[in-house]
């Protein structure tokens, strides 16, 4: 019997604890927030009527925020894997199984997300997606023009197709990798195997580009503010989830290393993952700011609406002003200053801390993408929000843990493994 990684008891306990806490929050939400009663119709720009009515909205908004965020984060791990495969990169092979394990959470989180989307459409949650309201769309020129895209059928079929393609293409990449465990390949086999990897990785990347980098964030998140649009939005969402994905990879690699696994991972690999976290934090800021500045500069009312809902105007501060700027501090200023030095990227404690800051920061980023357009000024940040996040983290940890214990943690027959062993930054 080959060596297999065994999940430490603490990991299992945490997974169970998070899932149970999350389920408790979910049940509390179902009982206390009446999510299945019909939503209150709101007119854009007008506050919802009273806190009691907006609680169902809060329930669905929190679910939407978490299901999209965690799904996109674990899917980013597969993107990282495919891009490095296409580049014929060798340095990541030492921890490649960890990225595979993270991406193996896509099917489960994808199904959960899709169930939530079906529920939103079936329950006619016009408070989340204004464009679900047929009468409102018919009376609204802008929404009418967008209705070829923003309609329940396109939304559901598009989402289903997207999640399905991520699932099967990711599955194919993982299967290819696991094939190598049984026996070493000779030269010709290796060539064929690398070629197959390249082809499937490029297919995934193309699908990823057409979904995460364009249509998916439009459908799932940008359509909350149905009148508003931004061509930077998908890039911004992609940057957000990719940097969180890298942070998650960093956390798992360091944790596994601490448990005595991943024998070939050295400080050099950790350093390079840290560089990815640093670089993509800057990239996130770049797209975040590009979106903000262009809208601020051109000052078109239909575009500035999005930011007025968040930070408010010069006369009156918006309800999300603090979160909006905290977002910038957690996701830009902190990584910029703390991850700049080589020593912090090679230090397990600082890098773990920054990974957690980044994952939390971008979760908060998604929070301020979803909440202003749905619950408006009745948003909460209490045990319900954190409970649902815990539920998703628990499910994700369960999925990842299951993959880690069922397969060898090092792809020892990968042809580029030596490149990874001698990797030097």
């Amino acid at each position: 019997m080959e060596h297999r990684f065994e999940l430490p008891a603490a990991y299992k306990k945490w997974t169970m604890g998070l899932v149970i806490a999350g389920l408790a929050a979910l049940v509390y939400g179902i009982i206390a927030y009446h999510p299945f009663t019909a939503p209150v119709h709101h007119v854009a720009g007008e506050a919802a009527h009273g806190a009691t009515h907006s609680e169902g909205t809060r329930f669905w908004a929190v679910l939407l925020q978490n299901c999209t965020y965690w799904l996109l984060v674990v899917n980013a791990a597969m993107f990282f894997l495919c891009v490095t495969t296409m580049a014929h990169g060798g340095w990541q092979i030492a921890f490649r199984r960890v990225t595979e394990a993270i991406s193996s959470a896509v099917p489960l989180l994808g199904i959960i997300a899709f169930i939530i989307f079906i529920a939103l459409v079936a329950l006619h949650r016009t408070d989340i997606y204004h464009w679900l309201d047929k009468d409102a769309v018919a009376a609204d020129k802008i929404l009418k023009n967008k209705s070829g895209f923003l309609n329940p059928y396109f939304f559901l079929i598009g989402s289903a197709l997207t999640i399905f393609l991520w699932w099967i293409l990711g599955k194919k990449m993982r299967t290819l990798s696991l094939q190598t465990d049984n026996k070493a390949m000779d030269y010709e086999e290796t060539k064929g195997w690398i070629w197959k990897n390249t082809v499937w990785a490029s297919l995934f990347t193309v699908v990823f580009g057409l979904t995460v980098a364009s249509t998916t964030p439009w459908l799932w998140l940008m359509s909350i503010d149905a009148h508003w649009y931004s061509t930077m939005f998908s890039w911004y969402t992609f940057a957000s989830t990719f940097v969180s994905g890298m942070a998650l990879i960093a956390l798992y690699v360091m944790w596994m290393k601490g448990k005595g696994e991943l024998e070939y991972v050295s400080d050099e690999h950790i350093h390079d993952i840290g560089k990815f976290m640093f670089a993509f934090s800057i990239f996130w800021t770049y797209v975040w700011f590009s979106q903000y500045m262009l809208i601020w500069y051109s000052n078109q009312p239909e575009e500035t609406r999005y930011f007025v809902d968040r930070i408010g105007t010069a006369e009156k501060a918006g309800p999300y002003k603090a979160i909006f700027f905290l977002n910038l501090i957690l996701n830009f200023v902190a990584p910029l200053l703390i991850l700049m030095k080589k020593a912090t990227k090679r230090n397990y404690s600082t890098l773990s801390l920054m990974a957690i800051v980044i994952i939390f920061g971008h979760w908060l980023d998604f929070y301020q993408m979803v909440m202003p357009g749905t619950v408006r000024d009745h948003a909460g940040m209490s045990f319900f929000e954190f409970g649902i996040a815990a539920l998703f983290i628990g499910i994700m940890m369960w999925s990842i843990g299951r993959y880690l214990i069922s397969h060898p943690t090092t792809a020892k027959n990968h042809p580029f493994l030596k490149e990874s062993i001698i990797h030097h930054t």
């Binding site: 700011f289 903000y292 500045m293 601020w296 500069y297 000052n299 010069a314 700049m340 030095k341 080589k342 030097h424």
Partner: protein, 196 residues
Amino acid sequence: MAGGVKKFVVGSFDDEAVLFPAVKNVRKQGYKIHDVYTPFPVHGLDHAMGLRETSLHTAGFIYAITGTCTALGFITWIFTKDWPLNIGGKPYFALPAWIPITFELTVLFSAVGMVLTFCYLCNLAPFVKKHHFHPRATDDLFVMAIECTDKTDDSAVQNFLQNAGAKEVNVQIAETGWWIGRYDKEQKLYKDEQGY
């Protein structure tokens, strides 16, 4: 003209795999390596030689901060104090519009500053000359120069380098620092060198 004239034992190696253990052994023996000249950057050689981490990054950070402050300070002064302009009804203190320029100046200051600092640290400037221990150090040889003191037995060092795998070993009396001007003699072309 820092440094002054000193005596060096110079060993030339034609293989990295020989150079690394040689560097290690020379240091273990207690000889002082003046420098190792290589035709291309050799990964890990700085660690093998025991060089400290460069502070160029820190200098870069300071230049960058200077650039940020210069840009923000200067634009703020112009647009709020010296010459306020109403541009599209925007506030005079229009921070978002200044970010790209602040970014550019940050990059410009750090880039130019680091290049100049790098040149200063490496004694690189027009007309500045340094002694070349071996002309083939820019072509295909790894050249290690060991600095001698009055107590150093240079023949022992030569033997040591020979045993460590050096292809050529010689003793040179040379200026350690830089000078402005010309080399003592005309440099020979490679094809005129012995053994070409």
